[in-house]
Symmetry: C2
Subunit: 208 residues, 2 copies
């Protein structure tokens, strides 16, 4: 195998191992020394490939985002705009969690609580990721309103808050309480919230 | 001041400082050395009063629980059984967060993600606290069903999941995203979910 190909494989293995560690123990606990130990590489070998601990944290988040886009975002964007696409986003988000995050941990869920009192580039990158995802969700909700699939009075930011709260609550219950039904519970509530907004079925109660 | 009274005041100050630290940086980051430094005491002085780092973590959680019971649980239990008591629990839980946890951090929210892959007595104590709170919520929901304030078909565990997911999502948004409206959003969704269950207004949608 040419040196460059082998070097790229090594870098991929480093990021993969670091992602596992960060998901289980938090991005803050990530160290080049521990990644090297787990892979049986020298610390200087890992260092020369990633540059710094901070660059490794960045690479881990980029790799997480790449996988998330591939599993959740891209397939949902193939659906026509509207409620179908919105439901696909939520369903795939929960499906991915069932396959991956329930076992591995969710870097963004844990990161929000790990970095809420910390400044720095990792916090900024996490914030940026959350904001990008929220803006995808909001745009998809607005499209579902525009298509007439959700009531015109729907508060898009409120619904986005609810999607992320249900996801975060379900991750906490599934991992910390070991409640395997939690992701189904999130889906059940989601369906309820959508049903409440799906049509002008009833006069919307005005907010006081 | 007699020695014993002074010693008790010192212990209270130690636990108070440790609670602030644990809320901001996580229970795992709590060290006797750092608490001593912040209070201008010797490390051995703090050690002699708390016994061990683990005992200090336990004391922090007990103090947190004591304050939570005083602010949220006890006043709600003065309400008659039913929807009024349930609403008071949720309202006071969010009100306390507005006054305390939004600024200080929530030990239980962060702890769930900090300890989901860690064993040990702190995890067990956190789990025990979450389970006690969830059982209070569940009992209160069941009473509201028994009183005829919520539909007889209401899934109590589902509603408890929703309460905790809304709270956790709101805490994350308020602290990590800096969204001051998040706790109001949780209350808005809560009212919607209760309205959906307040009467047998319509047939429940079946799961696909």
């Amino acid at each position: 195998m040419p040196n460059q190909a082998r070097s790229e494989l090594t870098l991929a293995a480093i990021v993969d191992t670091a992602l596992d560690m960060a998901a289980a123990e938090g991005l803050e606990s990530l160290t080049i020394g521990e990644v090297a130990k787990r892979l049986g590489l020298s610390k200087s070998g890992v260092f020369s490939r990633v540059g710094s601990r901070e660059a490794l944290q960045t690479a881990v988040l980029q790799e997480y985002d790449r996988r998330f886009v591939q599993d959740v975002f891209t397939p949902a964007m193939r659906e026509p705009r509207g409620l179908g696409r919105l439901n696909t986003l939520m369903a795939r988000w929960l499906d991915r969690a069932r396959r991956v995050e329930v076992h591995q941990g969710c870097i963004y869920c844990a990161g929000a609580f790990e970095y809420d009192d910390r400044d720095g580039p990792v916090r900024e990158q996490l914030l940026d990721g959350v904001r990008r995802w929220r803006s995808v969700l909001k745009r998809t909700v607005v499209q579902a309103i525009d298509e007439g699939h959700l009531d015109a009075q729907t508060d898009a930011e409120q619904l986005v808050f609810e999607m992320d709260a249900l996801f975060t609550g379900a991750m906490r219950d599934a991992r910390f309480l070991g409640d395997a039904r939690a992701l189904d519970r999130a889906w059940t509530t989601w369906q309820q919230l959508i049903a409440d907004r799906a049509t002008a079925r009833r006069a919307q109660p005005r907010r006081a």
